[in-house]
């Protein structure tokens, strides 16, 4: 019960962050793909960069073990294509669907039911998915394993690289910035 309550609280925090950044708006997602608005990319890159630092600290202190498992290229490629089309059609990301429902977008309810049906369909076809494995499985699943290094040695470098990319995006944005309608809190 405590774990469920804790998850609920974490979810509320995520919901607030998604609403406050407005990345739950489909227009933000589409404008990202059209390179007109970089809000989504900045949020994702910084969330990944910060996660890398958190995971590195946990991995360095032996609290966290980064799992490495083999994966099938065919299934991952096919799944990514379907996922990509799902995002392009709906303008929603898996994490933003529930936030869209929360702010009252009725259409997000249909997306939600679609996702659930997709999950059920996956379970039904799971036994036959092995037949589409026409590409070999990868035995090395993570970049640090490929480099034969510990996770905490590699991840901070990538984290800094991602932060630098965000910094560059911000610089480009500032040079080409038009007056914004939105009122932003200056942190």
């Amino acid at each position: 019960m405590v774990i469920v309550l804790f998850s609920l609280l974490i979810g509320i925090a995520i919901g607030i962050l998604l609403e406050k950044s407005n990345i739950l708006d489909p227009e933000i997602v589409f404008n990202q793909f059209l390179w007109k608005d970089f809000t989504l990319l900045k949020v994702v890159l910084l969330a990944v960069a910060t996660s890398m630092l958190v995971f590195s600290a946990l991995n360095y202190s032996d609290t966290m073990f980064i799992e490495s498992f083999s994966f099938g290229f065919s299934q991952v490629i096919l799944g990514s294509i379907l996922l990509g089309f799902g995002i392009v059609i709906t303008g929603a990301l898996p994490i933003t669907i529930m936030a869209q429902i929360g702010i009252g977008y009725v259409d997000a309810i249909f997306i939600f039911f679609g996702v659930i049906l997709g999950g059920i369909f996956y379970r039904l076809i799971e036994p036959i998915l092995g037949y589409i494995e026409f590409l070999p499985k990868s035995n090395i699943a993570t970049l640090n394993k490929a480099l034969d290094l510990e996770y905490w040695m590699v991840a901070p470098i990538f984290s800094i690289l991602l932060m630098f990319i965000v910094f560059c995006i911000r610089l480009i944005e500032k040079r080409t910035e038009k007056p914004k309608e939105e009122e932003e809190i200056d942190w």
Binding site: A13, I66, L82, D107, E183, W187
Partner: protein, 166 residues
């Protein structure tokens, strides 16, 4: 867009806070941020409840905390939008534009898009769940491949399908 007077937080602040949430999530749950796990749990629970025949050798792994997280995301967005007095809309202006204001078209597009997303999420995770941010942060190759493909499809098809309507 419905947020012309809506107060937004800078993307950098939101990104950093989302990343920092990984710490309490891992310490308490020994998991990483993964919203798609909740959808999987609901699908699996429905499979069980509706007595739909499926391969019984495959573990369903129903963990309600991930569903609670999904519910929390919804609640958080609701409270936040109410507190900031966000103008209420029942759909995004963008969906109205692309579906030409047809409710049936929006229901169809939403359901099909959601279905592809649900199926794709499971396949992209190769049977587990595609953990979005967390699996890229773990430097897992399959997630980097997935993000690359999503962006390629997004850039190519958004330009072809929607650029004239935005």
């Amino acid at each position: 867009m419905d947020s012309s007077k809506h107060i937004l937080w800078p993307a950098r602040i939101v990104g950093v806070f989302l990343g920092l949430l990984q710490y309490p999530i891992y310490i308490v749950l020994e998991k990483t941020l993964n919203s798609s796990g909740g959808y999987t749990v609901i699908s699996n629970w429905l499979l069980q409840e509706l007595n739909i025949p499926f391969d019984q050798d495959i573990s369903l792994g129903i963990t309600w905390w991930s569903v609670a997280m999904l519910a929390g995301i919804s609640l958080g967005a609701f409270f936040s939008s109410r507190m900031s007095k966000r103008k209420f809309r029942i759909y995004s202006g963008f969906w109205k534009e692309t579906a030409e204001d047809s409710l049936l078209k929006r229901i169809f597009l939403g359901s099909i898009g959601g279905f592809l997303m649900g199926l794709g999420l499971r396949m992209a995770g190769d049977g587990t769940n595609f953990e979005e941010l967390s699996s890229i942060a773990k430097l897992q190759f399959h997630s980097m491949l997935t993000i690359g493909i999503i962006f390629a499809i997004g850039i190519f098809f958004t330009r072809r399908w929607y650029s004239s309507r935005i």
